[in-house]
Symmetry: C2
Subunit: 440 residues, 2 copies
């Protein structure tokens, strides 16, 4: 197997036992990128020479100075500041902008020995649903989803083992599903979001892409995610209780998602789980509307500077936020903000009764074209509720494209959720009907 095909965990084993150098690993990834870049176009900035230079520097470290992510290559969404690469937010206002600053998460990753490969594409400010240039590696006529388009496509296409994303609506879990990979949105604010472009403080959450749950656990270690009760690494589907939740946005689900949710629930039952279909209590009914209100009203102060400086270079929807085009009153804004807050302890209580809640990740397969990155309807509710979410790949839609399902746990049950995701992921990937391929 070529090094570029390795998961982060697999690569680390080889990097540690000396059977692979960081430079060899980086060259393998860069070759993969060169081969596939015309089709996928996942990168906003990538400097192969600089990557090799960094790789050599990592190789030169004596073993005792190597970190827990020594040589692990990472694609960084281009709304996250990196002191050695431009950060352009897919905005003409910031074309070529190159502030000498690392986001908090980048400092932590570098300190752990990660190799920052380059900046991956995003929709404008990670805040709109018009796609960037990037194409879905599984079908280049389709979107990879967004707003974390490039990170998800790069990981799905074996151009990087790890991708960094963010989610304010559905910007991590949705592209995770569209690209057939794992995606993880941890509990809100459990990882510092400092040094990322802001859309909404109360919603924005950093997220990760990978092709294995082991890799997510590796990142959870590095970022010190910690539950009150540490999981025992002995989770078994047999005898566990799962909830299946269609949510209030279920009428939007297409055939791919309808079939995946059925199949996922059946697989869990087949493997001995007790699977119960539940509904959200009626007070959750306004949640999607409230999410939209918070998003739009938070966009007012957020994009005021860009509006002032270069309104003509700002996406229409963001101009609309600043101008409060929907005339959202402060009273309505606060009703939404406080209403969502009142639901958070309630969803924790509900989710706490189960090993996890199984719920859709997406409306369906990735849509054709790059005009829209797809609907975040099944993600926005969980972003608002601050719960950790994983996308588990394994199913396919009517056109053979990947369809994932989400697992949900209460806030700060991130490690528990990853443990459950590992076991569920093995089943879904083995028996769900979709198989990951390395496109040549």
């Amino acid at each position: 197997m070529d090094p570029y095909q390795l998961t982060a965990t697999q690569a680390l084993t080889k990097l540690k036992d000396g059977s692979l150098t960081v430079e060899e690993y980086a060259r393998s990834l860069l070759e993969r990128i060169e081969k596939r870049d015309d089709d996928v176009q996942a990168w906003a900035y990538l400097n192969p020479e600089y990557v090799i230079q960094q790789a050599k520097q990592l190789d030169s470290l004596p073993p005792e100075e190597r970190g827990p992510l020594h040589g692990v290559a990472v694609a960084v969404k281009d709304i996250m500041y990196t002191k050695d690469m431009p950060t352009q937010h897919n905005s003409p206002i910031y074309e070529g902008d190159d502030p000498k600053l690392d986001a908090a998460s980048i400092i932590t990753l570098r300190h752990a020995g990660a190799l920052i490969l380059g900046k991956s594409t995003t929709t404008e400010f990670a805040s709109i649903t018009t796609g960037p240039k990037t194409r879905n590696p599984h079908d280049t006529t389709r979107t990879p989803g967004g707003s974390s388009s490039g990170s998800a496509a790069a990981v799905g296409d074996f151009q990087a083992p790890i991708g960094l994303g963010t989610q304010t609506g559905g910007s991590t879990i949705r592209p995770g599903s569209f690209n057939g990979i794992y995606a993880f949105k941890p509990t809100w604010n459990s990882i510092s979001r400092e040094g990322l472009k802001v859309y909404s403080l109360i919603l924005d959450t950093i997220g990760f892409f990978s092709r294995s749950v082991d890799d997510l656990q590796l990142l959870a270690d590095v970022f010190e995610l910690e539950d009150d009760v540490p999981p025992h690494n002995d989770f078994s589907i047999k005898g566990s209780k799962f909830a299946v939740l269609k949510t209030m946005v279920w009428p939007q689900a297409g055939p791919g998602t309808v079939a995946a949710l059925d199949a996922g629930a059946k697989l869990l039952r087949d493997h001995g789980a007790d699977v119960e279909e539940i509904e959200l209590p009626p007070e959750f009914e306004k949640l999607p509307e409230w999410h939209g209100i918070v998003l739009r009203s938070d966009g007012r102060p957020t994009f005021l500077p860009e509006y002032r400086v270069s309104k003509d270079k700002l996406a229409g929807v963001l101009v609309g936020h600043v101008e409060n085009e929907y005339q959202i009153s402060r009273a309505a804004q606060l009703e939404a903000f406080d209403g969502i807050a009142s639901l958070r302890p309630k969803i924790d209580e509900i989710a706490g009764k189960y090993a996890a809640i199984l719920t859709p990740s997406v409306v369906d397969e990735a849509p054709v074209g790059r005009e829209t990155t797809g609907s975040p309807a099944f993600n926005a509710i969980w972003t608002a509720l601050h719960t950790p979410v994983t996308n588990i790949p394994g199913f396919k839609g009517e056109n053979g494209l990947p369809v994932g399902l989400s697992l949900i746990a209460p806030r700060y049950h991130d490690r528990h959720l990853l443990e459950v995701s590992k076991v569920v992921g093995e089943i879904f990937e083995a028996e769900g009907g979709w198989t990951r391929q390395v496109y040549q």
Copy 2:
């Protein structure tokens, strides 16, 4: 009157009618700074030549290109990124650090024509209560408060008309009181906090210092603060209802604050207000404890990068946050986070019955020494509740140092609060017993 003594609003009048150039204004302020800097030490970075260069550039703008803050000089707290000056957070880890980035608020201020004077001192990361070098201009043996120490001292000492601060506990209102100036903490997230060092996302709020409420209204215009019902600029004390609220931390109040609250309530009554003493309902009792829990638990992810990179250069209290020294459970963290959220609509309802709530700004006068910037006890509750707060100067303590009082309004009643603050400020400044002086 020398130009340095002008409020921003007064300076603007002269800058607009041509009787003062930005360069003349800047030179006057720089002379004032030079004269007083040995005593007050408000600045972390100040480059007089660069200030003059910027001033000349503003003077060269044709009148039609001048912004609403044309030439208004601003002291910027040194946790806010400025692309043309270092941002050092009063941390040895960031000594000399100079990322080429403007905070969102700085972009907006520059676009409005403001003259960024320099970076003002802060406690380490605006996150601890050990003071920086700065001294209280009214008594240099005392602290100016913190964490926005330099901005408050500079405005109190006529070294700048406007100062930018932040508040996570009591970092704007407390130094406002200690320096005898107006301070304004607007509704949480009503102004973008992007590009400021994070302590706690749900608490951190940008704030302003000035020597007049007109100046705060000017800033509220530039940052587009907007209530549902715009104030009519005809607020009258006579016939208005005010609440006096001692809060659950009242036992900490010293003689200066006890006297000021009495005197403030009496002045309002004397001017025809209906003043009612109220208490917070019992469910608010845990608020101070909850604020502390949120602060400490948010400090865990926030300072992880600095902890990893340079633990030995990080303040002990912040090391303690990362190591969770108080062993705050996730359950306790969420109880605090959700508990505070549930109180926000309740305080809005209570505050909405009055023109404003009058409550202490500080425990007492500024304490002697620079070991501590004083107690944020009377501010932290309002920071957590997200309400707008103004500090109104006008009273004095047993040692003749300034003591202010806070006015509180419901969230997103910022413009209303400023209107009330203007009228109340005129009364307190005229009859409260403390008079601002220009020290020579």
